[in-house]
């Protein structure tokens, strides 16, 4: 047998046995909890290529994100309807972005070509050029798992408003925030939308038992809106017996206009008048808070700026009756009452 062939066979034998031994040696319990392949050679950037691969070490945060509108940014029915199933390709960059650090903080994001159903995924905010960015660094887990993803401590990036505004200022939220008292007070996006909540950020962490929520509280969370927006209504009759309802809506806590976002969101003050038998004798829209889309040149911006109060007067039908005054949150301006969220409802007999 040729000397070279014998040498090649010997090398193959050694490699083969080595691979067999590697395969048969049971992995340690700790390694088994790591994302697939992370304990093998290769950097975290090579291995952590989707959001799912973050889940084993960050199950709490993963579950929060998965339930969030970031996690559903590409699949949520409302956006599908408004974008015609993303036939409007301009919506894709923000609903399935490439990592922000790649495209530049504060810069327009570009669309991903893969994993679009993951929406605004873990990598969108945490994948850096040289590794993964975290607010704290993996001090606890690094000792246990030397091959863990080893996030770079970069709070200046992951907590930066520049991480949010490439997408959210497409609908002017960042500009509204800069004009708000929250900006003057130094409150950033995370202060309200990513509050610190109990629970370890990384499994087994002994040093960090709380984390920033990745639920991203916002317009889809009614209780959260109710904390920020206040509503009251009264009904008065004049000497002739004519009844007038006065509704006040105050943007007390949002660090931007309400409802923020152009085109899509709308909040209506609605009224309904019932006779003593409970039969409707009148109904209507008292006021609409909304920033119209750029093509709606005949409409003006009626959002409620941060810290401001809007008073709406509504003439009611002749009583006696009951006025039902509501503040309705609509996810799009065409949304029907049955699909909208009743933020407040007040019934007043007159």
């Amino acid at each position: 047998m040729n000397k070279n062939i014998r040498l090649a066979l010997l090398v193959a034998l050694v490699l083969g046995v080595g691979a067999l031994v590697y395969a048969l040696v049971p992995p340690s319990g700790e390694e088994a909890t790591l994302p697939s392949g992370l304990s093998a050679k290769g950097t975290a950037l090579d291995v952590l290529r989707d959001s799912k691969s973050c889940q084993p070490c960050h199950p709490t945060i993963y579950a929060e994100w998965e339930s969030s509108w970031h996690g559903k940014a590409f699949t949520e029915p409302e956006v599908r309807k408004l974008s015609e199933d993303f036939k409007n390709k301009d919506c894709i960059p923000c609903h399935a972005p490439r990592p922000m650090i790649e495209t530049g903080l504060g810069e327009r994001v570009l669309a991903r070509l893969d994993r679009r159903p993951e929406g605004v995924d873990c990598l969108s905010c945490h994948k850096g050029k040289d590794g993964f960015l975290g607010a704290h660094g993996a001090t606890g887990s690094r000792a246990k798992w030397p091959d863990a993803c080893d996030p770079v401590r970069a709070p200046e990036f992951v907590s930066s408003v520049q991480m949010c505004f490439p997408c959210h200022n497409q609908h002017k939220t960042h500009d509204e925030w800069k004009a708000s008292p929250a900006f003057a007070q130094g409150k950033d996006c995370n202060a309200c939308h990513m509050p610190t909540v109990p629970g370890e950020a990384t499994i087994g962490s002994t040093t960090r038992l709380e984390h920033r929520s990745h639920v991203y509280f916002g317009g889809h969370h009614k209780d959260y809106i109710l904390d920020a927006i206040k509503f009251d209504a009264t009904v008065e009759k004049d000497a002739t017996g004519a009844a007038r309802a006065t509704v006040t809506v105050r943007n007390e806590g949002a660090g931007h206009n309400f409802p923020t976002d152009s085109r899509n969101r709308a909040v209506d003050v609605t009224w309904q008048a019932l006779n003593p038998g409970g039969i409707e004798i009148g109904s209507g829209q008292g006021f609409r808070f909304r920033n119209p889309y750029i093509t709606e040149i005949d409409k003006t911006n009626t959002q409620l700026a941060a810290g401001e109060t809007k008073t709406v007067a509504i003439d009611l039908p002749q009583g006696p009756g009951t006025a039902v005054l509501r503040l309705m949150y609509r996810h799009n301006p065409f949304e029907e009452d049955k699909d909208s969220v009743v933020l407040y409802e007040k019934r007043i007999e007159y």
Binding site: A23, S36, R98, D114, Y293, E296
Partner: protein, 537 residues
Amino acid sequence: MSRNSSTSAGLVAAVLALGVGGCPKPAPPETPLPAALVLGPVVKTRLAELRAKVKETPLPPAADVSALIAKLGEADPAARRATEDALVAAGPGAIPALAAALADTTLADAARGTAALALGRLDHDAAVAPLVAALRDRSRYVRAFVSMALGTLGRDEAVTELLFRFKEEYEPEGVVVNAAAKSLLGFGNVGGLDRLVKNLRARQLEREDAIVLLKEIVGTDRGFDPSGAELDRRVKATEWEDWLAFEAPAFLLARPAPPEPSDRLALKIVETVDRLREYQMRTIDDARLVLERLGVTAVPFLRLGLRDEEAKIRGYALEVTTLLGPRARDATPEILGLLRDEMLAPFAYQALGAVAAKEDALPLLLRGLADPRTEVRIACAAGLGLQGDPAAGLEPLKKLLASKGRLPADLELAADVASGALGDLPAFGRALDLAEASGAIDPDVAVRTVEDALARASRRFGGGRSPFRPAGAASPGVPSGTSHARPDPTAAAASASGAQNPQPPADGVRVPVTAGATPPPPDRATRVAAIRAYLGG
């Protein structure tokens, strides 16, 4: 790695390493990646050069034409025409007063329209700016008159703004669109083809104008009679829509090149490319639309964008070249140079598939199918589909799909759709199976993608007219569904009710009609069933 999979992998590795087959085969020769582009501030540099070259045209000294201006609003059309003639005879000195009248929203539309027409006939550079500004007027009638006047004036610097009308016009009649398309044709631009075809379904006067223009551009009216019976018109309009979707790209490719742009138009185009660096998507989308509709005129400027140091400009310029397809073939060297662009490589591969000649594209797309980056592999699979060469593309895609089950689902979908696009029509069925079974793919988007690709493939390989219409039919040469025009129901309703133009129309101007309600699209199950029935047949 899980215990089971690591065991299996080890055993496989051991068997392979112990060797059953003698010497390893030499690796196939690999096409090297072209050198990376040298990037720089090329767009800003070109912009500065052109700005230094192109000077603003000052308004000529004003002549006293106030008496004539006061007559612009006369009710009698013949009297208005006489006033218009007199203002033209007064010469460029009338431009300041005419510009003021055109901008005066308290005047009647007919008066402002007459001012626009007079400006157009004055044959002076200073008339361009006031006319271009009035293209964004609230009154559609003024916009229509201005669009006509810009054609009469004949200064090509208005081309980008006229093209923008095809995005902005939501008016249901199509009056402005026809006027803009006619003026653009005078500059050798046919960027409004799709809107003219759409106007074949408008009212009679607009249908008449649209078919005259289409005949002038394409050389035939394809038997469309604007005064014919409704059913006949619908059939012929559908034929035109098919032509637009399936034949317009080849027609546009074969068209002679339009005249070289003047420095003033070049400046406008470079400014448009420069806007691709902007932050607001709306601005970028506007710029992208104009560049795409400029067609081959835009290509030298897109090449500048592809060499720019600003990644956003490169990225969006790549997107426009992809939309232009083979019409942007001159940009191949830049596209090749961007294959090494870490951030934009997937977009560059996709552009390569859409734009480059077979000899440039195929070796690199095949190489890219083995790239470790999933996005690059997706782009290469899609690129092979766009290349449209079954002999070269089907086999590699088949090999890729042999790893079915181990591929990322979105890559498998891209490979199936590309295979379908290359004539393996059953692959569309497999794509639907995958979309329904995999949680990693959005089924609605997948069905839309399949419908789009199937429409083109069935036309080419299916031996008959497909019941599907490509999503990109609205814009000729667009390989996949893009939506530049974003019809807004509120705006459409406002437009239909005449809310944007409360003044009575001038004589000779058509009365608005109500926009027809679009029926809701069928649900996914129905669409999937239709595709399967078609494939089964």
